[in-house]
């Protein structure tokens, strides 16, 4: 793969069907940004309905047409928007987008490889992702609307077209899109694993890997082990929908007819789904944590505290994430003893998570913190990771989950961890590696504005939701006016929606900065953040094969910041040991 740095490439092979990991990473990023814009817009649409139920908004009619007759969102459309919002955010932005962008960009660059193990598979991975994105968006426009049963698409609701309009064509497309998405994830994941295991440059032992790479590696392993289970769940669901099987169906009477189904179990689907679903939340979170480890260490000018413990906790979280899925099913009628087991395993995960949080904070301690926008987002990530993680303790406690399951308390919890923490990690990554991706800098001041609006609006939206949930407000409700006992918390709804609108508008700071800087940003220098890792030893102008000359050789770990033995406050991994220096 080495050596062919200078030959001419056609537009198509360079920008469209590129095999180069750096270009593929940009393709993932730009696609994810577009998907993110759509998902945020959908959330604003349904937040309008939730904040001011029944009121007419011209903007809804403009964008949604017959789904918002007279400017009031239709109830079926409401569920479709919520479902597609969640699906896009979890899978397309935070799985495809986050891993696809940063695993692709950083794995070869930080381990000192010319490219991914298989450039072709990598290209396929992107194109499966692109096609599945298009199908998912397209499904919003079909007869009956998009899938509407929530992003978890539980059968029988999702299996029976007669149960709701969204369970018709829209649901079929959802399932097809997700299947393609899984293919993309598997192609990507296998590639990441093989690359990290086999293509590390000389001296790059596993214990010298940056934590980003550790996080991406374990993420890929989780994906490879869990996504196939989702495929089986999806395939069985497709068969129940169109071939008359009854894996998930039993004793159902609907639309005036007793269906010819017996012996299936809707709960089986939930086991399969959450066997992926829970690892999935760590697939979303671990890369964000890896990114912020790197960003925090670099910008604190300190070694990440407890490097080995950080690896240990990534491994621990990765392992445990496979044996906790039942915490999503405490009120499905599962055997209470089984429930107890899941309580135990779930709360165990809190331990490695706590270790991570404390280690981040200790890294800040006595640092010399440089407030780049990436650093601000990483600090925000630590705060939201702690805030959101703590409410997980309540939800993991089966007895307590009984009364808050499926309420806004859950919505608050997972948005603070995924919608804030993981998104913050992704944004931190974008600000931090933008110079590496585009050869230009993003504007710092706009970055500040973006961070502060996002932090304030994010907490403004999701923090009050805890109170709405504890008062007993179920999620996926089109409106709440039918329940007097909820009146007391309903005056929070317009506040939440206002913050949501502010937060959405605040993203313009980012979007503008992102696209403007691609063309007009300040030209980047080779190592703007004075970082230790290998990607900053490559030329600013991308070359095929990453390094012009031979591959760099690694002599130390990635975190020798402010090492007293050295004059500079950073020591790139390529720096050989000083005489008598004992190095990691």
């Amino acid at each position: 793969m080495a050596g062919h740095a200078h030959h001419e490439e056609s537009f198509i092979s360079k920008y469209i069907f590129s095999h180069d990991h750096k270009m593929i990473s940009k393709q993932f990023l730009v696609t994810a940004v577009f998907m993110g814009i759509i998902a945020v817009m959908l959330s604003v649409f349904f937040r309008l309905q939730l904040g001011w139920p029944g009121e007419s908004f011209a903007i809804l009619e403009t964008f949604l047409g017959k789904w918002a007759p007279g400017g009031v969102l239709d109830r079926n459309a409401y569920l479709a928007l919520v479902t597609i919002h969640g699906t896009i955010m979890v899978f397309f932005v935070l799985t495809g987008g986050l891993s696809g962008t940063f695993s692709n960009l950083l794995i070869p660059l930080q381990i000192g490889a010319r490219d991914m193990a298989s450039g072709f598979m990598n290209m396929l991975s992107y194109w499966f992702f692109a096609v599945s994105s298009v199908i998912m968006i397209f499904s919003l426009f079909v007869e009956g609307g998009a899938a509407s049963g929530g992003w978890t698409v539980y059968p029988p609701l999702s299996a029976l077209p007669q149960a709701m309009p969204g369970s018709g064509m829209g649901m079929t497309l959802w399932l097809i899109s997700m299947t393609l998405f899984v293919v993309s994830s598997l192609l990507g994941g296998l590639n990441y694993i093989v690359t990290v295991i086999n293509l590390r440059t000389k001296g790059m032992s596993m214990t010298r890997l940056p934590l980003t790479i550790w996080a991406f590696l374990i993420t890929a392993v989780l994906g490879v082990l869990s996504f196939p289970v989702l495929v089986s769940a999806v395939v069985l669901l497709l068969m129940d929908r169109s071939m008359g099987t009854a894996f998930y169906l039993s004793d159902i009477f609907i639309g005036g007819e007793a269906l010819d189904v017996t012996g299936g179990s809707p709960i089986l689907y939930q086991h399969l789904f959450w066997f992926l679903g829970h690892p999935e939340v760590y697939i979303v979170l671990l890369p964000a944590l890896g990114i912020s480890s790197e960003v925090i260490a670099t910008n604190s000018r300190k070694p990440i505290f407890g490097y080995k413990a950080m690896i240990g906790s990534i491994l621990g979280i990765g392992f445990l994430s496979f044996i906790v899925w039942g915490h999503h099913m405490f009120v499905t009628g599962m055997n209470p003893f089984l429930g107890s087991v899941f309580v135990f395993t779930t709360l165990l995960i809190a331990i490695p998570s706590a270790v991570k949080a404390f280690n981040y904070i200790t890294t800040l301690w006595q640092g010399n913190l440089r407030f780049t926008p990436a650093m601000l987002f990483s600090i925000g990530l630590v705060s939201t990771f702690v805030t959101g993680g703590l409410t997980g303790i309540i939800l993991a406690d089966s007895a307590l989950d009984v009364n808050v399951h499926d309420t806004y308390f859950v919505v608050a919890h997972f948005h603070i961890v995924m919608g804030m923490s993981a998104i913050f990690g992704m944004l931190a990554g974008i600000y931090h590696w933008y110079p590496k991706m585009f050869g230009r800098m993003m504007n710092t001041k706009l970055g500040y504005a973006h961070f502060w609006v996002t932090l304030i609006a994010g907490y403004g939206v999701f923090f009050p939701m805890h109170f709405v949930g504890i008062a007993g407000a179920p999620r996926r409700y089109y409106e709440y006016s039918n329940f007097d006992f909820l009146d007391s918390v309903m005056d929070l709804q317009p506040i939440i929606s206002t913050f949501a609108i502010i937060g959405a508008i605040g993203q313009l700071f980012f979007l503008f900065n992102f696209f403007y800087s691609i063309f007009y940003g300040q030209k980047a220098v080779q190592n703007p953040w004075k970082s230790n890792t290998l990607e900053w030893t490559t030329p600013v102008q991308h070359v095929h094969g990453n390094w012009d000359g031979p591959l760099p050789e690694v002599h130390r770990w990635a975190y020798d910041y402010s090492n007293p033995a050295h004059e500079d406050d950073f020591v790139p991994q390529t720096t050989p040991a000083l005489a008598g220096e004992e190095i990691h």
Partner: protein, 479 residues
């Protein structure tokens, strides 16, 4: 409106572009690079972290004061335990929340960049790491043990003399069923659901009612298909063709006497029969007449091929359904024929159901179509209702509706049962009123409710047995 939105967006983008340009120009003049963070910016962001923290905590406290005591109080026995556990956990996580966030934001400000300072090289410390592995473990152990104790209490077996109530969900309402005087729920089977038997309760009447209903549907569909214009025309043509053919039959016969044995369509008229018997001819003519009459009649319909196929398919499904009903056999159930009687006195309620205060009640949940979730937040109770898989939850209401009204000073207060698993368009309004009252009023209320079969003649045991045998006889050979 559209225009304004567009203008605002354009103006915003232009403003941002100008800002960015100005920023870049000034930094160019000062030779400032984006990655060099000025002391002023460092101070600003450090300060903002502290300011944010203060504002965040202030709003949190405001939220707690304004919305914090998630009244009304728990109205069930385990609900009080639940609230205690919730508060215990809340205190712990709030303490950690304040502690960690405070340390984080203060550190962020305190250790902000200063020119000339070098950060402390501090890569690990086993003692510290041990501390924050062990302390969370201990706290979590306490949380787990306490939590599981409550969990076991909540999910344990209901006592023998608990009241049993079935809650049945469907898009988009709830039905409650009480077992009636015999204390036993009648069996239920989804195949028996009809407008008059919404829960599909198995009784001899239920079975014959459902069969009747299905026969009716099949007959209606078959008649509709029989009156399809195209079908009628085709049949007429066929009959006419046959009548016609009989006139020149002899002629045709002489041509094909070699190995031609297709006289099967002439049925029992035999091989040597020349022409058609008068009998057969009269029948065909009558048939022709009948068909023509139908064609002129008011019932004639025109169906597309697809529609006709759909109806034929529906007939097929209805016949399968009829088959399944006939497979409902009393002897497959414990209790045999007697069990078929149990449903007759069940009581079925829509809109609201009542519970006696202080008495344990075990809910049995069933669902007709999709998954729903029976959620009663005032009782801290929730359980999914799953088609095909009955679920259970037990609780003891402790506060009557009336006392709760007094406590809350709200004469209109009512307990509710809501649906908490998305189930379709009207999910957000799938509710039922719950009334908790004294044992006496409860008994009086229950007494006043009609029995399931009250308006019909209660089938006698022998009737049921006869019916059962009848069904046995209709059983397919697979038995």
């Amino acid at each position: 409106m559209k225009l304004i939105t567009l203008l605002v967006v354009i103006a915003g983008v232009i403003a941002l572009a100008q800002l960015a340009k100005v920023g870049q120009l000034t930094s160019l003049i000062r030779n400032k690079r984006e990655e060099d963070i000025s002391a002023a910016d460092t101070r600003l962001n450090g300060g903002l972290f502290v300011a944010f923290m203060v504002a965040f905590y202030a709003s949190f406290i405001w939220l707690i004061i304004r919305y914090g005591d998630y009244n009304p109080p728990a109205a069930s026995a385990h609900g009080e335990t639940y609230d205690t556990l919730m508060n215990f956990n809340m205190y712990i996580i709030m303490a950690v929340f304040f502690l960690v966030n405070t340390v984080l934001f203060l550190f962020a400000n305190k250790y902000r960049q200063e020119a000339g300072r070098k950060a402390k090289f501090f890569a690990h410390d086993n003692r510290l790491e041990l501390i924050w592995t062990v302390i969370p473990s201990i706290v979590l152990a306490v949380i787990i043990i306490y939590g599981l104790r409550t969990w076991n209490e909540m999910t344990g077996e209901a006592s023998e003399d608990a009241l049993r109530v079935e809650l049945y969900s469907k898009q988009f309402d709830w039905t409650a069923r009480y077992p009636g005087a015999d204390g036993e729920f009648g069996l239920a089977n989804y195949n028996l659901i009809t407008p008059t038997n919404p829960l599909g309760i198995v009784t001899a009447d239920g079975v014959s009612g459902a069969l009747e209903e299905i026969e009716g549907q099949i007959a209606a569909l078959e008649s509709e298909l029989a009156h399809e214009r195209g079908t009628l025309l085709a049949q007429i043509e066929e009959v006419e063709a046959e009548l016609h053919a009989s006139h020149d039959h002899g002629h045709g016969h002489s041509h094909d006497d070699h190995g031609h044995d297709d006289h099967a369509d002439h049925g029992d008229h035999g091989h040597d029969d020349h022409g058609m018997s008068a009998e057969r001819k009269a029948m065909l003519e009558a048939r022709l007449h009948e068909l023509e009459h139908m064609l002129e009649g008011p019932d004639v319909v025109v169906l597309s091929t697809a529609a006709a196929e759909a109806k034929a398919d529906k007939i097929h499904r209805l016949k399968r359904h009829r088959q399944r009903i006939m497979e409902v056999k009393p002897f497959d159930y414990e209790g045999g024929v007697a069990a078929w009687e149990a449903g007759a006195d069940d009581k079925i309620m829509k809109g609201e159901f009542h519970l006696p205060v202080g008495r344990e009640v075990e809910f049995v949940f069933r669902s007709r179509d999709v998954i729903h979730s029976a959620y009663m937040p005032h009782f801290r109770a929730q359980m999914n209702t799953v088609p095909g898989v009955p679920t259970r939850f037990k609780m003891t209401p402790t506060i009557t509706t009336d006392s709760m009204r007094t406590v809350l000073d709200d004469p209109d207060f009512d307990y509710v049962l809501l649906c908490n698993k998305v189930c379709g368009a009207a999910h957000f309004n799938m509710q039922m009123k719950v009334v908790v009252e004294s044992e006496e009023s409860y008994n009086a209320w229950l007494e006043s409710q009609e029995e399931f079969l009250a308006d019909k003649e209660v089938a006698t045991e022998s009737d049921a047995r006869a019916e059962a045998i009848n069904i046995e006889n209709n059983e397919s050979a697979t038995l």
